[in-house]
């Protein structure tokens, strides 16, 4: 059991390290084509990372070690998510917990690292991005945890691998009103956590609208590479999680060569499909005003609360 868990964890880390830049490349390419541009090809993010790793980082004189450690902390928190989440396989190993509360807090460690990096260089933009980022993170938190609560009710536990396993065996769970409401709420929360439209525009450098990008402005060389990789992996694993919650088929529950290959193929397809869908959706969306964002998040909170109360009315 332990051996199998280690194997799955290793496979997930390797796969998502490879998949994350690819996903971002695909999403950018889809967007370019839809907007009538040629695009830079799906491998451009990989080339960017390679380029950044070959450059010497330039740091401000007054910055501290946070600027060099923070990006690594973000990367490690994303890699830890790859280990903990049920992506390729849903094995329930008792003390490597896929407990959702643990997962959310690991993700928040990355959020904090990024926010501190934004503040460290002491520029106006970094502070602005950090402040907005943390405000959104604070307001998203109730939605995420309530959605978790709603999802945990049918399975009787907050362990993600058990939740996904339950959905695999009882597919009717997936289209129950509780689950649908919770998934919609979770999807909006994930948009906010990964700085996508309509909460944040990932491709903007306009000062008034930046959130995520503003915090990266002072990063350069390998610092920037880690920051980008960390954020990409986070986006990819969260899309993978959403994919496995809506369509758990293909995820492995026992370890054989065939099932591992199937699991890898299934999660790759799910992540890429969701990425393309997200990218197509984003073409038709404009970024919401910063002070409209709380309204959107309040809406998703209401959905999550409805999901929890529905679980007592329906079930």
């Amino acid at each position: 059991m332990i051996g199998a868990a280690v194997l799955i964890a290793l496979v997930q880390v390797m796969l998502f390290l490879f998949l994350a830049p690819l996903l971002v490349g695909v999403m950018r390419q889809v967007r370019s084509r839809l907007e009538g541009r040629v695009g830079s090809g799906i491998w451009q993010p990989w080339r960017d990372v390679r380029k950044l790793l070959r450059k010497a980082p330039v740091r401000a004189r007054d910055s501290s070690w946070i600027l060099s450690i923070g990006p690594l902390a973000l990367l490690l928190s994303s890699l830890l998510l790859c280990v903990l989440l049920p992506l390729v396989g849903a094995l329930d190993v008792p003390w490597i917990s896929s407990d959702l509360f643990v997962i959310v807090s690991v993700m928040l460690l990355g959020v904090v690292a990024l926010a501190l990096v934004g503040l460290d260089a002491g520029t106006a933009f970094g502070g602005m991005g950090s402040s907005r980022h943390m405000t959104v993170a604070a307001l998203v938190e109730p939605t995420v945890l309530l959605a978790v609560y709603a999802l945990s009710i049918p399975a009787g536990t907050s362990s993600l691998s058990v939740i996904v396993g339950t959905r695999l065996h009882v597919p009717s769970e997936i289209i129950s009103p509780v689950s649908v409401l919770a998934l919609v709420a979770l999807a909006i929360a994930i948009m906010a956590e990964t700085s996508r439209l309509p909460i944040d525009n990932p491709s903007t450098h306009l000062e008034l609208t930046m959130m995520h990008e503003a915090m990266l402005l002072e990063g350069s060389g390998r610092d920037l590479a880690w920051l980008e990789m960390g954020s990409w992996i986070k986006l990819t694993v969260l899309l993978g999680l959403l994919g496995n919650l809506t369509a758990p088929w293909g995820i492995l529950t026992d370890v054989t060569i065939g099932s591992v290959l199937l699991g890898v193929a299934a999660i790759t397809v799910k992540v890429l499909l969701l990425g393309v869908a997200l990218s197509v959706g984003e073409v038709f969306l404009a970024k919401a005003r910063l002070f409209r964002v709380p309204e959107l998040l309040a809406g998703s909170f209401a959905l999550a609360l409805l999901a929890v109360t529905a679980s007592y009315l329906v079930a």
């Binding site: 830890l80 003390w95 690991v106 904090v112 950090s130 609560y149 350069s220 709380p294």
Partner: protein, 671 residues
């Protein structure tokens, strides 16, 4: 005489000796000797607490002429709180030895400190109401003395002291009234007799509400928290640390005494009441903390938040136990105790670190700090770890405690798949939402506090020339931080020890699992932070190898003018401050916070389109103070003005009063 009684007696003797020392020693020797004495006193009290936690029993009776026999016999729960209070005492005393200056080093200053610590340790040891109230009042009065040490330096101390005195006397009055009702029902003032009465009668309900509100005032809950943001920032750092880290816990002990020991079979509405009180405090406290720029004000409000979470957990435990969801109720109670311990450690460390910053820069306004990480690395590290714990992130004690609370809440609403009751189905999701919102805002609050104070460039000359705190003060900071991490990585053994103090069947509630992680077999959940840390370490190995290869080839460069939008980054004033950091949040919660904003625009000459100067002033006020207390105080003041008419200093009028009084007495006697 048992070991426990002997230990209690030793504690009293040590306290008396140290007080005597504080009064007789010359000024040069006073601080080191009294500080060391306080550390010894706390160590003895901790030993007493540990003895009590093993359950050996024993009582110390002190016969007095006025109040009869005062009995001190800590049970397991009392022992646990003695240990918590004493740990804070050790850290704060060590720090005070080096940090005390001015009036804090006076004879009465040190004597008050020693008596303050001793009385805090005696409250959980009390076995009857009279000794409880006596120790409680002694604790309050000594803390008033300690608070007043700074009154010559700042005029604001006097008003803080008056607020504090008024609120703590209100708290004392309510607790005394509650105990009086219970004593009337039980016919005795001993806690053992009260525990036998059970609940159900309306007198017990009245007593419960009185006691709850009384203890809530001590535990800084809304709406009785108004003294906190005034008092804690004005108190010297070790006093603030002891008040927030230890004295507030005595209020929690009071609540647990009522809910666990005296009236364990309370009806569900008690639980709902406690949860509502705790939930409101948690959200309001952290909201105020997140928008305030004073470091110590922020920490004070965050205490209200944390105590709110503790009361939320206690309320959930009472509610669930009342509806026979025992496993989840036990987990909730456990989380209340874990939250208390974790808060004692991190808030003490945070207040001491804030004191170190004040010591170095004479400044606690975040808007004038910055860049301290490079100048005060030890303080920064300790503050950072404590802040992680306050934001409930792994791998700290705060995370373990909050995780337990969330697990108990989500497992509370159903027993093996069937809903327990409608009230639980409503209360638990709301509880989760409150905890989640609190956690999110706490994250923002402490990123702000750490990021603005320690990162970026100094925002004032004082911050630019700060020097690290002296060794004597750093020791406490480091010890606190290490304890936070230890409890966060290896919570199992500590949780078991704590469970044996609270439950009769500790092994069924909590066990140590994995690499010293915690597991709650009743609700079937497990947390093993050490394994998480191990996985991160394994993941870090290849990443660090890659980093070291890359960084050898391409060394980082330091530049005066890195990106900064491509232009000059000359002025630190262009950075975000704590106020601007919280600005989006102030806008979002505008209706709750009601900030007063004053914008003055000076136009240049004749043109309306050219601006010479813009002045913006924003003040955060406490809604409860302006909307609830201020009107009440105004009414009281109006009565005072009316009373002045009756008492205008004219001798004729006083003679007339005496005459009328005499006539009335004569009439009454004659009837």
């Amino acid at each position: 005489m048992t070991a426990l009684a002997a230990s209690l007696l030793t504690e009293l003797i040590v306290a008396a000796v140290v007080v005597l020392g504080a009064f007789t020693l010359p000024a040069r020797w006073r601080s080191p000797v009294s500080g060391l004495g306080s550390v010894v006193l706390s160590a003895v009290a901790a030993t007493t607490g540990i003895l009590a936690m093993t359950g050996i029993g024993g009582a110390l009776s002190v016969r007095t002429t006025l109040a009869g026999a005062l009995t001190f016999a800590p049970d397991r729960l009392g022992g646990l709180f003695m240990v918590i209070v004493s740990l804070v005492g050790v850290l704060a005393s060590l720090y005070a030895m080096r940090s005390a200056r001015g009036a804090e080093t006076s004879r009465s200053g040190w004597a008050a400190w020693v008596v303050f610590l001793a009385s805090m340790q005696l409250v959980p040891a009390a076995a009857d109401m009279v000794s409880f109230l006596l120790a409680w009042e002694l604790m309050t009065l000594c803390s008033v003395l300690l608070l007043a040490t700074g009154h010559r330096l700042r005029s604001s101390v006097a008003s803080a002291t008056i607020w504090y005195l008024a609120m703590s006397q209100l708290s004392f009055f309510l607790v005394a009234a509650g105990f009086a009702v219970l004593a009337g029902v039980a016919g005795s003032t001993s806690f053992a007799a009260v525990a036998a009465i059970g609940s159900g009668s309306w007198q017990v309900d009245v007593a419960f509400v009185l006691l709850l509100v009384g203890f809530a005032a001590k535990a800084e809950l809304v709406p009785l928290h108004v003294w906190v943001p005034r008092v804690l920032p004005e108190a010297p750092a070790p006093v603030a640390a002891a008040m927030s880290g230890a004295m507030v816990k005595v209020g929690v002990y009071g609540a647990l005494l009522v809910c666990v020991r005296l009236l364990p079979a309370g009806p569900p509405w008690w639980g709902v009441l406690i949860m509502a009180l705790g939930g409101a405090s948690a959200v309001y406290g952290i909201l105020q903390a997140s928008v305030n720029s004073g470091l110590k004000v922020l920490l004070a409000y965050s205490t209200t938040e944390n105590m709110g979470l503790v009361f939320l957990a206690v309320g959930a435990a009472v509610l669930l136990r009342g509806l026979d969801a025992t496993a989840a109720a036990d987990a909730a109670l456990m989380s209340a105790v874990l939250l208390t311990i974790s808060h004692a450690l991190f808030k003490t460390t945070l207040f001491l670190a804030a004191g170190a910053i004040e010591h170095a820069t004479d400044e606690t306004n975040l808007d004038r700090l910055g860049g301290l990480l490079r100048r005060m690395p030890w303080t920064a590290a300790a503050f950072g770890i404590a802040a992680l714990s306050a934001a409930a992130l792994p791998i700290t004690s705060g995370f373990v405690a909050e995780w337990t609370l969330l697990q108990s809440l989500i497992h509370g609403s159903r027993i093996s798949g069937t809903p327990v009751a409608v009230i639980v189905s409503v209360a638990m999701p709301l509880g989760v939402a409150v905890v989640a919102l609190t956690a999110g805002l706490a994250l923002l609050t402490f990123v702000k506090a750490y990021g603005i104070a320690f990162l970026a460039r100094p925002r004032s000359a004082e911050a630019a020339t700060a020097v690290e705190a002296p060794l004597g003060m750093r020791v406490s900071l480091v010890a606190g931080a290490v304890a936070i991490i230890l409890l966060g990585v290896l919570p199992g053994p500590a949780a078991q020890a704590v469970a044996s103090a609270v439950f009769t069947n500790p092994a069924e509630v909590v066990r140590s699992a994995g690499l010293a992680g915690v597991s709650f077999p009743g609700i079937g959940v497990l947390l093993d932070p050490a394994t998480l840390a191990l996985i991160v370490a394994l993941l870090a190995v290849p990443v660090l190898i890659l980093v070291s290869i890359v960084s050898r080839r391409h060394r980082s460069r330091v530049s005066e003018l890195p990106w900064g939008g491509g232009g000059s980054r000359a002025r630190p004033r262009m950075q975000y401050t704590a106020t601007s950091y919280a600005e989006p949040l102030v806008r979002v919660f505008d209706d709750v916070l009601k900030p007063s904003r004053d914008v003055q625009v000076t136009h240049l000459g004749e043109s309306r389109y050219l601006i010479e100067r813009v002045q913006i002033e924003q003040r955060m006020t406490d809604v409860f103070e302006t909307r609830v207390y201020r009107p009440l105080l105004n009414v009281a003041e109006r009565f005072g003005v009316l009373a002045r008419h009756a008492q205008n200093g004219s001798i004729h009028r006083y003679l007339a009063y005496s005459f009328v009084a005499l006539v009335i007495v004569l009439v009454v006697v004659a009837l």
